[in-house]
Symmetry: C2
């Protein structure tokens, strides 16, 4: 027998087809519902699977070949799910487009990925109209919903979903795409520079879904009802469309209806067990509950990511409904599941909330390390800060047609995020490199400051950014939206007193702005880039109080 | 951009090293215990990981190279676990040997796999002694426990584990084995013909462990305490050593101590949450509880496989301790996780036990189909019987150096098991092809008959096999071990009456044998092959009652 012995296992390629067929075969009566702003319209897995086959037949009729890119410009919907299933299963590449980006960025991404087909949600026609003339290489634009909407676009490439599917067959001979072929493409939301694209493989999409079923990750299971709040145009919505389908979970698709009253309606009607949302949205739900009771006890877990979740929020959700909040840190580049804040079995003398405040522990398959500026490993002791770097099966190793310095010589992804890792592997992000405030040679964490400020009863939202300071190079500027209108001018002084025994003295901001609204990025994070621009342009009314070192404190 | 677009994901090979390092990095304080017949000796993951590195260094010193086979002839123990971790992580192949086989078969398997190294449990020296002269190509035999035992073997190839590890370094530079390289070898237990070997790959071993963490499979998790009853020499003990380590679960290793009082001691001391066992052993636990209360409420689930679990057993475990029994059907050829009897969320008007009595539903990644004798797909309707065939990532596609007819032309594994599959994918095994009783052109299921007979209060164990019959070609022979000695002769008549309104009339056996013990195979299943031999040799006292068609019934 030769050395370097090969296994005898079957060569069955892993991919979206594997999980697509598994869900269709075993869970034909599980359901997915579209919420239309009034009610949920439920459809069975059997119907959705049949429609995915019809779509595959229709696309084949239009000449699609393996490797072709199919863009989707759609809200979360059952039609979007059908596209999620059909396109990679037939060997083509699902390219989800962030509909909150600028016209320029949307056209750039479509052209850069060389999309040949485009699926368009009729509810987004207005947004898409100015993109259409800028994407000459797209051959077919398929519009969901009624044919009239499609006609309104007045472009020969446009066809309606319904007329295209027409009498297409409800079965399709799915091929066996290669494991390492691209299955999906997503571009980063581009908070810095042009958007950059990553291409998930068939295999990593399957692996990510399989890993999402673990108890210590999202525990996605047949009994779940997933409220699909994360956008399907962004990092595959935490992969829930795939892990949910593979597991036979019911799913609720909100479409564009993400505002408080709609969330309430969907939660009260479907009693979901699992969802994920940015902390801002979770804060909205807590406020909504204070206005009129909102029962969230149906959830077995709420995942929250995008930015750090304050302890007050974690404890409020626990105290009101006994529901655990799982923080997740992930990126477009990591498919996105990466680290999750499940407490360890041995709490080691700490509260459960202490562990839930961590960014999380890696899921198996992901490795995390902390490196200093010179590229040396620092102590992984939970206190030494450096750049977080990642490696793993569902982490990208490059960007599509793009040279970057985002990868180390030994092949790790440089995240640009700063933090530490402790002996058990728990990661604590402090800040994006650019969000750290460097004050007189010391670092101030904007995230930690925000967390403490959110504990004050009058604070609804707060963003802390660096502001130039002649004495300290940089100092923190706290931009606050208050819960009531009555505090105004007096609020910063109250908050400064509130901070005094909670953070180091030199952390207490002397720069303050009280605002009516804090701008968000296309994926719902606080837009610190825009805030810094507004500060630079003098568009914010900034109060200056006596600062650190200016009195004998 | 080219068509058939490749992904941008990192190329990080999946394998035992991935999960080995993950467990060591994140769960250094989790524990594994050796039970010595009196008490459990706990050791930390940190110690076990350090020892696995020492073993890797020692083997490297002996000249091991990637692809070399390392046989293990060991009970379940922490040293066996260290070998499980070290050998595949360094790119060599772990070949677990079933210590209950005959000397001839053991030597055959070692020579057939071309093992170069052999790890020997000192407690098995007596059994292994006659094998030693028959395996001339094995270069090194490493004996666990004391050096004195090793000396007793009087063979220059023999060295003790302790002296070998000596002052070996506690760190090792693990290489990156290829995904498709063999990681482990297991031979089938050979109920027919010579044992045949399968080689699990690095990738499939990782995938199997990852899939075992799903809620809808074994839900292996950090909070588990796994009582490692399934043999580590047989299909990787349901993969628990790997899924457990990857998840940071505590584990209890029973060594050779599998008898009732030892099980009681381990359960009462460690309060395990998860285990797997053959139905026979589960029956022993139920009987033990009747003798003196035994609290099994610590378990969150008990997996049972190897043969069908009777409903009486499933209900007894539920009623006494509120613990679900998960039936599992798997084979050496399937790594072994294949189908598991989790009830669906919609019970569809049936009881939960109805679903738990099914052999199970495939775990994602496994496909099952039922074929007739001519190789055509039969209706997958839950009633049409045929041969069960399997496909999937962790299913073998061949045997090591062996031509067989075990695979179809389109690449599916022919299991030799007979059963049906329903619309939701639930599999119901009826019998091994050779265990079906063909009576006058109709099939009688020996497994179903056994299940009904076990519901009778006097029956401790029962095996039904075919016996030649001049009129009906074959008829069922029921071989019964009763719970008490007092019934003897009268028992068969009682059981015949008991059966009358529970099975078809032609199923009621007229051939009966009441025995003191039913022989078991090396993996604890009832040895029907041996029973048939004993029947043929006239060694069983068989009663003949009036049979079907012999009176006007």
């Amino acid at each position: 027998m030769p050395n370097n012995m090969m296994s005898t296992m079957m060569n069955t390629p892993l991919g979206v087809k594997t999980l697509h067929q598994f869900g269709a075969r075993h869970f034909s009566t599980s359901r997915v519902g579209d919420y239309d702003g009034q009610q949920i319209h439920w459809r069975s897995y059997a119907e959705i699977d049949a429609n995915s086959a019809r779509l595959a037949n229709a696309l084949t009729g239009l000449g699609i070949v393996p490797g072709d890119r199919v863009g989707t410009f759609m809200w979360n919907s059952t039609q979007h799910l059908e596209t999620y299933l059909a396109v990679p299963s037939l060997g083509a590449v699902l390219h989800t487009l962030n509909c909150r980006l600028s016209t320029e960025h949307i056209a750039y991404i479509i052209n850069h990925a060389a999309d040949r087909f485009l699926m368009l949600d009729a509810r987004l026609i207005e947004t898409f109209l100015p993109v259409l003339p800028r994407i000459p290489d797209v051959e077919h634009v398929i519009v969901s919903s009624t044919g009239n909407d499609a006609v309104a676009l007045n472009d020969p490439r446009v066809v309606s979903f319904e007329s295209l599917l027409g009498d297409a067959e409800e079965t399709f001979q799915w091929p066996e795409p290669e494991e390492n072929a691209a299955a999906g493409i997503c571009y980063t939301s581009g908070t810095t520079g042009n958007p950059k694209g990553v291409a998930y493989s068939q295999k990593t999409t399957y692996l990510h879904a399989l890993a999402s079923r673990s108890v210590d990750s999202f525990a996605v299971q047949e009994r779940d009802v997933i409220l699909m709040l994360p956008s399907m145009f962004h990092a595959n919505a935490w992969g829930f469309p795939y892990s949910g389908w593979m597991s036979g979970a019911d799913m609720v698709m909100p479409g564009p209806h993400l505002q408080g009253p709609h969330l309430r309606a969907m939660i009260e009607s479907a009693r979901p067990t699992l969802t994920a949302m940015v902390p801002t949205l979770l804060g909205d739900l807590l406020l909504a509950d204070e206005e009129a009771p909102l029962d969230l006890s149906c959830f077995r877990a709420i995942v929250s990511g995008g930015s750090a979740v304050p302890s007050s929020m974690i404890e409020a959700v626990r105290d009101r409904w006994d529901v655990p909040v799982i923080q997740g840190w992930g990126m477009t580049e990591t498919s996105p599941m990466c680290v999750l804040s499940h407490p360890p079995k041995d709490l080691n003398g700490q509260t459960e909330t202490y562990w839930r405040l961590k960014s999380g522990r890696p899921v198996p398959g992901i490795e995390v390390r902390v490196m200093d500026d010179e590229g040396n490993l620092v102590e992984q002791d939970g206190t030494t800060v450096g750049e977080l770097q990642l490696k793993g099966a569902w982490v990208t190793g490059s960007y599509i047609n793009e040279e970057t310095d985002a990868f180390t010589n030994d092949g790790w992804l440089r995240t640009g995020d700063v933090g530490m890792v402790d002996a058990q592997g728990y990661v604590q992000l402090t800040d994006r490199t650019k969000d750290v405030i460097k004050s007189g040679g010391e670092w101030i964490s904007s995230v930690d400051l925000e967390d403490v400020l959110l504990q004050h009863e009058s604070v609804a939202e707060v963003a802390v950014v660096a502001i130039d300071d002649t004495r300290w190079q940089e100092r923190p500027l706290a931009i606050v939206r208050s819960k009531s209108d009555c505090e105004g001018e007096a609020l910063p002084d109250q908050l400064r007193s509130f901070l005094v025994d909670k953070v180091a003295k030199f952390w207490v901001p002397e720069y303050w702005a009280v605002v009516d609204d804090i701008p968000k990025t296309s994926v719902g994070k606080m837009d610190k880039k825009l805030l810094r621009e507004e500060v630079a342009a003098g568009r914010l009314a900034i109060q200056k109080h006596l600062g650190f070192g200016e009195v004998n404190d």
